[in-house]
């Protein structure tokens, strides 16, 4: 639901970076969005397309790479990933002695500019 704010921040960063590096146009922006971030890719695309209109990113595509939730369990010493947006216990052994190290990302990776 807050995809509009996320798209807004993302556009600001992209436009600033592009100008600072002396380019005039953004063709593509690549982002990583964690599955546990609460951001829905379709809604982010929609918001990005709506907000980019009068900017130097008006012709830009948004490429979204989804990052699965991943963690490590200290009980069975295994690394795991899951398709869910949350973890309730280690999917390997069921223990709750796990820590999550991926899945909350909201990052800009790079962009194509002219």
């Amino acid at each position: 639901m807050h995809e509009v704010s996320v798209a807004d921040s993302l556009l600001k960063i992209a436009v600033d970076e592009c100008r600072r590096s002396g380019y005039a146009r953004i063709n593509n922006v690549r982002v990583s969005i964690g599955k546990a971030s609460g951001v829905m890719p379709e809604a982010l695309l929609f918001a990005f397309d709506a907000l980019k209109a009068d900017t130097i990113a008006s012709g830009a595509a948004l490429t979204i790479e989804e990052v699965p939730v991943a963690g490590h369990c200290s009980a069975c010493n295994s690394d795991f990933t899951t398709d869910e947006s949350f973890v309730l216990c280690c999917p390997m052994c069921g223990s709750s002695s796990y820590s999550i190290h991926a899945g909350r990302e909201l990052d800009i990776k790079d962009m194509e500019v002219d």
């Binding site: 546990a36 949350f86 309730l88 790079d110 962009m111």
Partner: protein
Amino acid sequence: MKLKVASKILDANDRIAQDNRRIFSDAGVFVINLMSSPGAGKTSLLEKTIAGLKKSLDIGVIEGDITGTDDAERINRLGVPVVQINTGGACHLDANMINVVLPDLPLDELDLLVIENVGNLVCPAEFKVGEDVKIMILSIAEGHDKPLKYPLMFQESTALIINKIDLRPFLDVDVDKIRKDALSLNPSIKIFELSCKTGEGVDQWIAWLQTLNS
């Protein structure tokens, strides 16, 4: 031409949240970001909390709503400093919205500042505003499936208040499941069951709040 960016999308917000945090700690005020879906009882809990703590703590409130000043008026009646923020559509408060109203609050005189976020079970959890702790409310009328459907807020919160327990006889809701799922998502979450209507359980909550603030 490919440009590497490698930045967090919400970096700007996080930086302003850090500024707010510094302002709060310099003023010696403890800050709670209070979150829930619409109508779970944020303002009602604030009213009870202020009534119970007003003698021992100086409390201030920031009210976040999409529109309107009803909540700020309810708090104003209790004689504590309050500022209303209208987000004009945004589903959450962000760090900058808080930053611009800070001059309107007597921070140096406050011990505790509660920021009532916009009613929403998803978005507020994503945006830091400079708080010491996030605390959330779930009213039992919302159903016991909520922790697993909206995990983020449960994961981010230091405490969960299960409100409206006076309605238990009228609802088919499994409060133990709410507890169990919330604890699975966040093993260290502190849970209170209470009713802002009857006052049941409010004392335990207030006692815990005092330990946080000291």
